[in-house]
C-alpha cells in the first residue's frame, strides 16, 4: 500500500490519490528488459477552491508502442476511457497531463519528452499540465505552463518514503 501525496503549489494543493500512485509503482522498470509504460492523468478541481485531485490514470493499452526507451500513446482506448468518465460525471473530469516510466533511478525528462510537453502545452486550451515520470527510486512531477518553454519541477516523491 502507498499513501496519497499532497503537493503544495501556489494558491492550491494537488492530491495524487493512492490508487494512481500504486498503479504507477507497478510499472517501474526494475529490469533492463522492462519496457516503458505510460498513459494519461485525469482529475477534477474542487468547486470551493482551486485544489486539484488526480484520481485516475490510464494504463498502457494494446496499440501503444512500448520499448525500453520509448513509450508512444497511440491506442484510442485512452481517449475512450476519458470520454466515458467525462460523460458519466457531467463533465467534471479533465485531462491534466501524461505519465510514463523511465529506466533510471531518479527520472529526468528527455528531449523527446520536452518536445512532446511543449506540443501539448500549445494545443491544450488549459493553462497548465502536470507530467509525471516514474523512476526506480523516485517519481517526479513537472508543471508545464502555457508560454513558458521550460517545465518546472514541482514535486519529487521517494518511493521508500511512502511506505510500499
Amino acid at each position: 500500500m502507498v499513501c496519497a501525496v499532497i503537493i503544495n503549489a501556489e494558491n492550491k494543493r494537488i492530491k495524487l490519490c493512492n490508487e494512481i500512485i500504486g498503479l504507477m509503482y507497478g510499472y517501474i522498470q526494475w529490469n533492463s528488459y522492462d519496457t516503458e509504460a505510460g498513459g494519461i492523468i485525469l482529475g477534477r478541481e474542487n468547486l470551493g477552491n482551486d485544489n486539484l485531485i488526480f484520481e485516475f490514470i490510464t494504463k498502457p493499452m494494446k496499440k501503444d508502442i512500448r520499448t525500453k526507451n520509448r513509450f508512444l500513446r497511440k491506442d484510442s482506448e485512452h481517449i475512450e476511457f476519458y470520454k466515458q468518465l467525462y460523460s458519466k460525471h457531467n463533465g467534471v473530469y479533465a485531462y491534466y497531463g501524461e505519465w510514463h516510466t523511465h529506466p533510471e533511478d531518479i527520472p529526468h525528462y528527455s528531449i523527446i519528452d520536452l518536445t512532446n510537453w511543449r506540443k501539448i502545452s500549445k494545443e491544450d486550451p488549459k493553462e497548465m499540465q502536470y507530467h509525471i515520470i516514474v523512476g526506480r527510486k523516485q517519481l517526479r512531477i513537472w508543471e508545464m505552463r502555457k508560454k513558458c518553454f521550460m517545465p518546472k519541477l514541482v514535486c519529487e516523491v521517494k518511493w521508500d518514503e511512502i511506505n510500499i
Binding site: K15, L47, G48, N49, R73, Y82, H102
Partner: protein, 353 residues
C-alpha cells in the same frame, strides 16, 4: 472554502426544529396552567432555561427532546422544605400523561408519548427566594429525590444569570455573524457528543460545560475577502481550535488500579454568578468517564486535523461525516467539482533518450 457550505447544511439539519420547539412550548404552557390553577401551589414566575433559551438546541439522536422550565416561586426558601413543592407538583402532574411524572434530583420531569413512544419531556425546576419580597435576592434550587436523603437541600442557584452570561456573548447586530458561528460550533459539538457518548449515567459531559467553555475560550475564525467585500467564515478552523481549547483543559490525575492514566477536567460556573461553592460543571463524571472524554477529544483533534490536511473536498466531507454522523452531507463528485472542457491530446510520444 466551500466546505463552509456543507457545514452550514449540517447546521441546518441538526438545529432544533421550529415546529418541535413550538409543540414543546404548548405542552409546557398546559402544564403551567395546571399548576397556576391548583390549590396549595404558591404563585410563580416561569422562565426558560436550558439550551432553547440560549438558542443552542440540537435535534437529539435516539433520545427525547426536552425543555427546561424554571419556576421561581414567590416564597421564602426558609418557609419550605426542599421537597414540599416538588412533591406537590408531582402529585398534580403524575396522571397528566400516560408516562406520568418522575421526581429527579434537580427537577420534576413530565414525559409525553408520541406515536406510542416516549418522545419528549418537560423538566420543571423549582426555585425559591431568600426573600420573597425582593426578586433580586438569592435564588435556591430544590435539589433531591426525597426528604429522607442527606443530599436533599436548597442549593444556591443563579439560572437567569447563567442564561444571560451565555446570551450576552456576541451581543447586538454588529456581532450577528460572529454569534452565529459561535452557536454553530456549539451545536456541532453537541451533536458530536450525542454520537460519541452513552447518554446513560454520567458518561456524557454536560452541555452546559461545553457551552461555558465556549463563552470563555471560543474564538471566531474568519477572513476578510477583498473581492467579495465580506468576511468568509471558516467553521472547520473554528471547531478545530475549540476542540484544542478543551483538550488543553485536561490535567493528569494519576494512574488507576488497572494501570490506566487518568485525566480530569474542571470548569467552574462563572464566579460572578450566585451559585454554591464547588461548582465544577463536570463534577458528576467519574475519573474514568473524564478520561474517556479526554481520549475522545484527543481523537477529535486528530481527526479534524486530518480533514484540514485533506485536499479533496469530497474526502473532507466523508471524514466529517465519520466525525459528526450522517447529518453531515457528502456531496457527489459531480456536484463538488468545476466543469471542465473535454480535451485530450490525441497522441503522445515519450522517451528516455
Amino acid at each position: 472554502m466551500s466546505l463552509q457550505k456543507y457545514f452550514k447544511e449540517f447546521n441546518e439539519k441538526i438545529k432544533m426544529d421550529y415546529d418541535v420547539k413550538s409543540e414543546l412550548k404548548d405542552k409546557r404552557d398546559i402544564l403551567l396552567e395546571i399548576l397556576r390553577n391548583a390549590e396549595g401551589i404558591p404563585a410563580f414566575k416561569k422562565f426558560d432555561q436550558g439550551s432553547y433559551s440560549m438558542y443552542l438546541g440540537v435535534e437529539p439522536l435516539d433520545k427525547e427532546y426536552d425543555i427546561d422550565v424554571g419556576l421561581r416561586f414567590q416564597v421564602n426558601c426558609d418557609d419550605y422544605a426542599p421537597m414540599d413543592l416538588k412533591d406537590k407538583i408531582y402529585d398534580l402532574l403524575k396522571d397528566h400523561t400516560d408516562y406520568g411524572a418522575t421526581i429527579k434530583k434537580p427537577c420534576v420531569t413530565v414525559t409525553y408519548k408520541k406515536d406510542g413512544e416516549a418522545a419528549y419531556h418537560v423538566d420543571l425546576v423549582v426555585y425559591t427566594y431568600a426573600d420573597k419580597d425582593d426578586t433580586d435576592s438569592q435564588l435556591y434550587l430544590a435539589r433531591g429525590k426525597n426528604s429522607e436523603s442527606d443530599e436533599t437541600c436548597w442549593e444556591k442557584s443563579d439560572p437567569v444569570g447563567l442564561v444571560n452570561y451565555v446570551n450576552d456573548k456576541y451581543k447586538g447586530d454588529d456581532a450577528k455573524e460572529d454569534r452565529e458561528q459561535f452557536r454553530r460550533i456549539i451545536r456541532y459539538f453537541k451533536r458530536w457528543k450525542n454520537k460519541k457518548f452513552s447518554s446513560s449515567g454520567n458518561a456524557e459531559p454536560p452541555s452546559i460545560g461545553i457551552t461555558l467553555i465556549a463563552v470563555d475560550k471560543f474564538e471566531v475564525s474568519k477572513k476578510y475577502d477583498y473581492l467579495e467585500e465580506k468576511y468568509i467564515y471558516d467553521d472547520l478552523d473554528a471547531v478545530l481550535n475549540f476542540a484544542k481549547e478543551i483538550k488543553d483543559l485536561f490535567k493528569f490525575n494519576g494512574i488507576s488500579e488497572s494501570g490506566r492514566c487518568l485525566y480530569s477536567i474542571e470548569y467552574d460556573l462563572p464566579s460572578e454568578l450566585k451559585f454554591d461553592e464547588n461548582t465544577n460543571v463536570f463534577k458528576k463524571m467519574s475519573d474514568n468517564y473524564m478520561t474517556d472524554f479526554k481520549e475522545k477529544v484527543d481523537a477529535l483533534v486528530t481527526d479534524l486535523e486530518a480533514v484540514k490536511n485533506e485536499a479533496d473536498e469530497v474526502e473532507q466531507c466523508k471524514k466529517l461525516n465519520k466525525i459528526f454522523g450522517d447529518d453531515f452531507p457528502i456531496p457527489e463528485v459531480d456536484n463538488a467539482a468545476k466543469q471542465q472542457m473535454c480535451y485530450i491530446p490525441p497522441t503522445s510520444s515519450s522517451g528516455a533518450r
